[in-house]
């Protein structure tokens, strides 16, 4: 009879239940038992992974390589997940997130590029696996840089923090540009290591080399798979954090920092954790970038890219880690979808011009979104964080039934 009791008390708890298509889907998904979720999730991920092989007719980009676009999406998805920890979870607006991306990419570049004075591929980093070994080092370096940025600045709030982090992002780029003896300045670092695996006579430098242009399994596809695997690992990690004490502390800080402090949440410590974790994920994405492109130079890490990452998080829906991945997909895929396309469903269009205007459209989208749907396209819903998801499902159903939005007679027998 426990369900009935919850059903009677619940209607007052969750405020004004919505019931859009998304909510129905979410409710249905949350109500599924774990094995069923895996049963649906695994084939779905497999389908996503197979996209560059299947190359569906309309979805496939025409102006650029589809595998490459998906690999870029993978990197942006990681960035969006990392930035979502900082912005969406902990509510700290970071406009210089590109700095961490740059630090990750440059760490790999400095360790493995022949142009760099600190090149280690001939000493203790093996030539074949240099990229793989550089990955944890780069993540550690970005985490430390997050600590260095966070310690003095996280005492600031809101707008001030935004501007200081913006300055940080710009300083990182200027350092890369100005320290010519180390970073190669504007010339950048080339010949960055990538994993040397799967060497065949046609793919002399392995499947991850930029020289592997054999469709459909070209190097973009392989990097897409690597990023997909990393996304799943990071999602599990971040998802567990969200449900832990740390995640609850973040939500408390986001909603009301003073109240959280008074209730005994060490806000500074947890804000620093959010920064550090967000930074490491950004660095991880930078490592992927350096490996895939095998070249880093300062213009890639312009602050405007930071805004683009933020765009992905805002459009997707802050706080919703699956939503921000979709946001990243929109940001990366849409311009590439139009690139090189001269007609869409028979209607003639100038695809290249539309792709050129991407910042204009993103800007307009941000402005309209903020007026009509500030929570993003796929907003996060507040859950009963401290209870199990079964309780959440029951409570939610009952609330919806009470509001008359759902047929009252459902299988739980509540009411």
């Amino acid at each position: 009879m426990t369900t009935t009791r919850i059903a009677e008390t619940a209607p007052t708890a969750p405020p004004a239940p919505h019931l859009g298509a998304g909510d129905r889907l979410r409710l249905w998904w949350s109500a599924l038992p774990r094995p069923y979720q895996w049963g649906i999730g695994v084939p779905f991920i497999a389908l996503l992974a197979a996209l560059p092989i299947l190359r569906p007719p309309i979805l496939t980009t025409q102006g650029t390589d589809f595998g490459g676009v998906l690999a870029q999406f993978g990197m942006y998805a990681l960035l969006a997940i990392g930035l979502n920890v900082v912005v969406g979870q902990a509510g700290l607006l970071d406009l210089g997130y590109v700095g961490f991306y740059a630090i990750g990419a440059y760490t790999v570049g400095l360790l493995t590029s022949p142009d760099s004075p600190w090149n280690q591929t001939d000493t203790w980093l093996s030539r074949h696996w240099a990229w793989v070994f550089a990955l944890p080092i780069a993540i550690a370096v970005t985490a430390v840089s997050g600590l260095i940025l966070g310690t003095p600045t996280l005492r600031l709030r809101g707008d001030y923090l935004a501007i200081v982090t913006l300055g940080f992002g710009e300083i990182v780029r200027l350092l890369a540009d100005n320290l010519q003896n180390i970073t190669g300045g504007g010339r950048g670092l080339s010949g960055i290591a990538f994993p040397l695996v799967g060497q065949t006579p046609t793919r002399t430098k392995g499947v991850f080399s930029a020289g592997n242009t054999h469709l459909p399994l070209n190097f973009g596809t392989w990097w897409y798979w690597v990023s997909l695997a990393l996304i799943i690992v990071v999602l599990l990690f971040v998802g567990n954090l969200e449900r832990s004490r740390v995640g609850r502390a973040w939500v408390a800080i986001r909603e009301d920092e003073d109240a959280a402090e008074i209730m005994g949440v060490p806000t500074f410590k947890f804000k620093l954790w959010a920064f550090l974790i967000g930074a490491s994920i950004g660095g991880l994405s930078g490592v992927l970038y350096a490996g895939q492109v095998q070249f880093v130079s300062p213009p890639t890490f312009n602050v405007i890219n930071s805004m683009l990452f933020l765009c992905a998080v805002i459009v997707g829906g802050q706080g919703n880690k699956l939503g921000v991945i979709l946001g990243a997909f929109i940001i990366v895929y849409l311009p590439n979808f139009f690139l090189g396309r001269s007609d869409l469903f028979g209607i003639p269009i100038d695809g290249n011009a539309i792709a050129d205007y991407k910042y204009l459209f993103f800007g307009l989208a941000l402005m309209t979104l903020m007026i009509f749907r500030p929570q993003g396209l796929f907003p996060a819903r507040q859950k009963l964080l401290s209870y199990g998801r079964e309780v959440y499902v029951v409570a939610r159903r009952a609330a919806l039934a009470a509001a008359g939005r759902l047929p009252a007679a459902d299988e739980d027998g509540a009411r």
């Binding site: 600045t153 180390i182 402005m367």
Partner: protein, 332 residues
């Protein structure tokens, strides 16, 4: 590795650097007033203010083109009276464009959000979006509208009305006519703004809303009108600053040319105490001078880093800035 520290050069050309810093600083100060006023009234960092400044640069350029000037290699170098007249007209052109853009931005982007009582983050993101839109408008749309005479990917070919010529020297540092024009007009505008805010009925309205919006509304001050006026003043000053900036940096008229300058002006506003009108002026001049000293000591390429480091240090050790009082509390 790091640039060599060249303290000797600083001592050697101290006065020349100070004068150069003051010219840049007075430009920062005018732009900083826009940030500070809007912050004082709305508690909002108008992130798109740098784009308002950028539009001002195009506005004065368009005005000069309307008066028949065309980009050419040499400066026009007309008589003093004629030059001043055309500079004044160009400045009005910049002011009109910037002022209209600032008020338009407020109407289109910020007012709907205020109606909905959106949180600060939403305002900031809207400002970022508006910044994108304005930049890309000049980048792609403006050249189509003006038959490729304005806007586009590259900087405008400069129209030089006057070439810098030395007027006199102080302590061995030369002072050019351009330096004088920039500092004098910036100070005059800053003084006029200060008088307007602190000495007129409209200014009292702005200060009252900054101090306590609810009470001000109860006393019959129209908050909406005050907000519009605030954006207008900020925009107009940014337009004036845009002309002064192009006198100093003729090649700077480009679609993304406002970004760094906007951030520096914001640094100046924070340095002086954000929300404080006189603080913005002081902060601008200080930042301009510090930047010049820093550039000489550390090397030219570190110039932009100086502003950011100053910003971080100020926020860490004295977040209220040097003068540190808000617009509302300043001699209300």
């Amino acid at each position: 590795m790091l640039a060599s520290f060249d303290i000797g050069a600083l001592g050697h050309s101290f006065w020349a650097l100070t004068i150069s810093g003051l010219t840049y600083g007075s430009i920062y100060a005018l732009v900083a007033v826009g940030y500070t006023l809007v912050y004082g009234v709305l508690r909002l960092i108008n992130f798109a203010h740098s784009e308002i400044f950028m539009l001002g640069m195009f506005g004065q350029y368009a005005a000069l083109m309307m008066f028949g000037f065309a980009p050419q290699g040499d400066a026009y170098d007309m008589g003093v009276a004629q030059t001043l007249m055309y500079l004044g007209l160009a400045m009005i052109g910049g002011m009109v464009v910037s002022g209209a853009a600032a008020v338009g931005l407020e109407r289109v982007a910020y007012r709907p959000l205020r109606r909905r009582g959106a949180p600060a983050l939403v305002f900031l993101i809207t400002a970022i979006g508006a910044s994108f839109v304005l930049q890309e408008f000049v980048h792609f749309v403006l050249p189509k509208l003006t038959n490729n005479t304005l806007g586009g990917l590259n900087a405008q070919q400069p129209i030089r009305l006057v070439s810098p010529s030395t007027q006199f020297t102080i302590f061995g540092a030369t002072v050019t006519n351009v330096d004088i024009a920039i500092v004098v007009s910036a100070l005059a505008l800053a003084f006029a703004t200060d008088r307007f805010i602190n000495g007129t009925k409209f200014g009292r309205g702005i200060r009252s809303v900054a101090q306590d919006p609810v009470t001000a509304t109860l006393m019959g001050v129209s908050r909406e009108r005050v907000i519009m006026l605030t954006f207008l003043i900020g925009g107009v000053l940014a337009g004036a600053a845009a002309l002064l900036y192009t006198l100093r940096v003729p090649n700077g008229i480009i679609y993304n040319g406002g970004f760094i300058l906007g951030i520096k002006a914001f640094c100046a506003a924070v340095l002086g105490g954000i929300g404080n009108l006189r603080g913005a002026l002081l902060g601008g001049l200080l930042l301009g001078v510090m930047e010049m000293y820093g550039q000489t000591v550390f090397g030219n390429e570190w110039r932009d880093v100086v502003a950011f480091v100053v910003l971080v240090l100020v926020l860490m050790f004295r977040p209220t800035g040097i003068l540190g009082e808000s617009l509302g509390r300043a001699r209300a």
